[in-house]
């Protein structure tokens, strides 16, 4: 029990400005080769959070919903990548945005490689592809509280 608590982190978010601040700090922790699963109900703000993190990583084109095509990839801006390299000692070449919303569990070659050494992978609706999630994938769940604020749980 104690270990569970230590491993997971919670944060309450009351508006978009707070979500933006969370995205900024969270983006700093991220490293190439990592896989993040984003859970939350329809309308919880998964895509919004991913877009905010994407902007922190220098993605300037619109990051549109991958629901329909399952997977979209974005190159990380080179000059931003220099800064990323300075602060993290490592590059992030690409951002891979996957959405498993329309996929039946665990049968999904169309999603492509989920973990790539030069890329960060963000997966929406990871619970729908639990069986094929790479080991060590980090989980972010966005819970909608009664007053419409959000609780973010990282595990």
């Amino acid at each position: 029990m104690r270990q569970e608590i230590k491993k997971s982190r919670n944060q309450n978010i009351k508006d978009l400005a707070e979500l933006q601040e969370f995205a900024r700090k969270f983006a700093l922790e991220m490293r190439a080769g990592e896989v993040y699963g984003f859970s939350g109900d329809l309308g919880a703000g998964k895509t919004t959070l991913i877009q905010m993190i994407g902007r922190e990583l220098g993605i300037t084109v619109p990051m549109t919903s991958p629901t329909f095509v399952f997977r979209k990839e974005y190159a990380v801006n080179k000059s931003i990548n220099q800064e990323i390299k300075k602060s993290r000692g490592q590059d992030i070449g690409r951002l891979i945005h996957i959405d498993a919303y329309r996929i039946e569990s665990g049968n999904a070659e169309d999603l492509g490689e989920l973990r790539e050494s030069d890329a960060l992978t963000f997966i929406e609706w990871p619970e729908r592809i639990e069986k094929i999630l790479p080991p060590g994938a980090k989980r972010i769940s966005i819970e909608i509280l009664k007053d419409e604020s959000r609780k973010i749980v990282l595990t």
């Binding site: 309308g43 619109p62 919903s65």
Partner: protein, 344 residues
Amino acid sequence: MRVLGIETSCDESAISLVTTESGRVRVLKSLVSSQIEIHKKYGGVVPEVAARQHVQVLAALMRESGITSSDVDTIAVTSGPGLVTALRVGIDFAKALAWAWKKPLVGVNHIEGHIYANWITREISVPAPSFPALCLIVSGGHTELLLMRGHGIYERLGETLDDAVGEAFDKTAKLLGLPYPGGPQISKLAESGNSARYDFPRPMMGEPGLDFSYSGLKTSVRVTVQEIKKTTNQEITGIMLPDLCASFQAAAIEPLVKKTERALRAHEEIECLTLAGGVSANKLLRGELAQLSAEYQLPLFMPDLQFTGDNAAMIAAAGCFRAEEASLEAWKNVTANPGSRLGV
């Protein structure tokens, strides 16, 4: 010129034969086999199931069509955007035919196909869309305003920054507990609903420019549904559902119409208005655009209802205007491009 079209980018396997006359396209044959019944079971498209079905269905459709080598001058196949495994099935099929029949082959963008559905007509005497044409593209994966300056020449004026409008319809339907595919269900229920009952936001209307956003609207519907459930202590039933659908539909359609008008004002050189994509079957949208085109005295082209969804006639139609790019060697190098985009 007669063009064979092959389409397998998502749910539908389709084959069509069209011919060009006076700059317009006449459909000789169009066969579509939908997988919606299969995907209903899963609440969405399952790529591997889609690919397997396309393989089985394409050969059967081809036999059923009775089309032979001597009927065809050129072959056009959807090369993207879409699901990569599904696209590959159609492309491999088209390549095999092109090789065996020694016919030129050309890869066609699926969205361009939707636009060219507006060139299909039974009345060859009606003139084709003239350029520059403003194209409003509305589907499950796309919401875009394109300025089409000539055949194959596109300038992107605006697009969605997050969800596509068709996706907003489908996800809202899911929130309201409607079965897949939910978009058409919403439109149907909306007909008997009061669109002023719930005040949903019109996203991006206050922003300058021609971009769209639909993820916030979905969230707003969710919040409203929660509130209704809390205050009435019951599920969404009876008249609430048509009112919710009508209110949502009004909020989803209004930005499309207003941004289209804004584009018309910003580009006075526009000669006509064309609508394309699966959501172009939506009655409210068709009605509002008809009003807009009358107001601006511009011809409006909307695809015949049978060609609003995915089909191969539109791919063949686009192929008619891409025929000079078709080559006998293309069976070696046409490849699936799942993320391809139209315009710059």
